[in-house]
Symmetry: D2
Subunit: 210 residues, 4 copies
């Protein structure tokens, strides 16, 4: 994880009882906790705040934006999506987690439908590390094992990634490009941010392994 | 040019006297003329028509869509852009010509700002063919020479192309990735259309060389 | 499969009793049979022939070269590897099958070690079609199922493919980029051969499904 | 330039009077001087030394290898090329400068002929920075200007680069992909070396601008 990561911002959907049982302090807090091993300056932004918390000022001081969303993608305002997109074009890094694959911002950045196969089931997943020398994947070994996971399967309708880091294997027979890097836009060179764009399902779990 | 190209559709902006002098029958007719060496079934759609002429029926029977636009990008309706985008996701081929680089549909497909350097000047341009074995570039030799051309220069803010076919050299000192291929979306396999997406400035002139 | 495929040439290793039981007429004949549904002009070249059968004359009239090998990679002469490599640079298509991943010609073309995980076991394999609109994969559906297959697993040490067509799922928990396209070299444009280079394990079985 | 760069090694050809006039202390010393602004631990290896100076011990402690050669590519021993290639597969970074494009090690890594257009002439060159947010190109502005330069022109027979950083414009009408990144091999993750492989003509001059 690059040293420049200073802030975490997240939009989150409405939470069911089931989710509350697993993430009592919310999913965004669980993600933030996963980053707490480092001295990142983390801030959180959620759907219900004005401008979804993604104010111009906050984005201006953001180096890496982590996005998670699930049920409420449609409620994210187009003007905020455009604002975030503009900032990615200028060079912030962005990590879109798991069900964020269907968010407006991810679809805008990809230019494709981002559809995939999907099944809510407790499949065992193995996430194979196919680029073990990449800065994101160093030191995590051959694979990450998740005992129970929602199944995401190919074909995932995305452009050919600049780099595919992870390929997921699901017990039920599916495969998935579980971690992909895409560079989009100019980059903000004076901050030395690597302007790549990551879609990394289960980053939270990976982080807990670090 | 793949044999599956059957229809040409074009949106065109408003025309100045200067343009009329060069293209008395309109730019879209000049493009259509350039394709007339073959027995493509060509149809034309322009901005001023209802739905810009890009009706559901017309798109449903289209294999390859050629797009040109200049001053009037903002006047193209978002719902029509979405309709065209959906059709590209389903598999039609699309060729975006020259100043179409700043059209809504091209920016939607790229996911980037698509900005570039620009100068209206009569620069001589040499378009170097860097992939001479690609089906688009076969038989056109090392380069295409354009005596007078508007200058487009790098950095062109696009994702890394799947394939860069042409690099342009401009007398005034600029370079430009003048022909790029991007695959986006699923493809309509039953029509055997190659679902690539081309941005080829000066295709018209190239065609006249074939 | 492009219409330009006219000849099949193959180098084969020494055959055990077990292999003879499965392929009584040799593996190269099984591959040739798989192509017989079309009117390709197929010729066969094997390791034991002078120049491994890959004479200058034969290569000169070849459009697509299919390579299979297993135990005897080291016995292939360097000068013949160079000759084949030169022809690929000039534009013939080449398909390297399965255990050919460790042949001299494949390693020469890749520039990498081409190492992978490997296990001789009767794993069930599902080969997922992740680019269903590509000309190679059209019409074969979501996946190919192989009841018993040797396991090949990631990390497969190859350059990032131009296009990954297939990702394999193995019952035992492994994944593999089972079909990849790489363009290498100039291409022989006058034959309209698509100068891509394919590594497609189980092409034979795939062909039998067509 | 990554902080992990600790050593510089170079093979150099025989030197003419003309070259001596420009580089009185040799080209390899000029390259080393260009790196002296930093506290890299630089070592030099030349063609005439035993094993060309590229001993196992030296390579084992190398993080980034910079290669320059011109007339004497054929004199580099195959076993040393293999040794260097093995080390790149294991993860050292490598920068191949200018006429090194035709070295055995570069051709081995590319898997292609690496041929290009070539002219000894004092062309003015502009090297356009088309990825200004990449860590290699940050802060050098839109372009680097070289008043007199040997012309290298397309088509440069290389695989599609992972990333094209620079495109060169030559006064005489040619263009060239002047800086390209390729990842090849596993990477040596414990050293956090970014295992990319750079072909950057005129790196020396670029360095002097930093």
């Amino acid at each position: 994880m690059p040293a420049e990561l200073k802030k975490l911002k997240e939009n989150t959907g409405k939470r069911s009882k089931k989710v509350k049982a697993i993430y009592p302090d919310s999913i965004h807090m669980a993600i933030a906790d996963g980053l707490s091993y480092n001295d990142f300056n983390i801030k959180i932004a959620t759907l219900d705040e004005p401008e979804h918390g993604l104010t111009v000022d906050l984005l201006d001081e953001t180096d890496v934006l982590i996005w998670w969303g699930h049920c409420a993608h449609a409620e994210v305002k187009d003007e905020i999506v455009k604002r975030v997109h503009d900032r990615v074009m200028e060079g912030i890094g962005m990590i879109v987690l798991h069900s964020g694959y269907y968010s407006k911002i991810f679809k805008t950045l990809m230019g494709t439908s981002c559809s995939l196969k999907y099944r809510v089931n407790d499949d065992k997943q193995l996430i194979w590390n196919i680029e073990p020398s990449h800065q994101i994947t160093q030191g995590i070994g051959d694979y990450i094992k998740l005992p129970k996971e929602e199944m995401y399967g190919e074909r995932f309708d995305i452009p050919t990634p600049d780099k595919t880091l992870f390929i997921g294997w699901f017990e039920g027979g599916k495969v998935f490009r579980s971690g992909c890097c895409f560079q989009r836009g100019h980059g903000r060179s004076h901050h030395k941010v690597n302007p790549e764009y990551f879609d990394i399902p289960d980053w939270r779990r990976k982080m807990s392994l670090l």
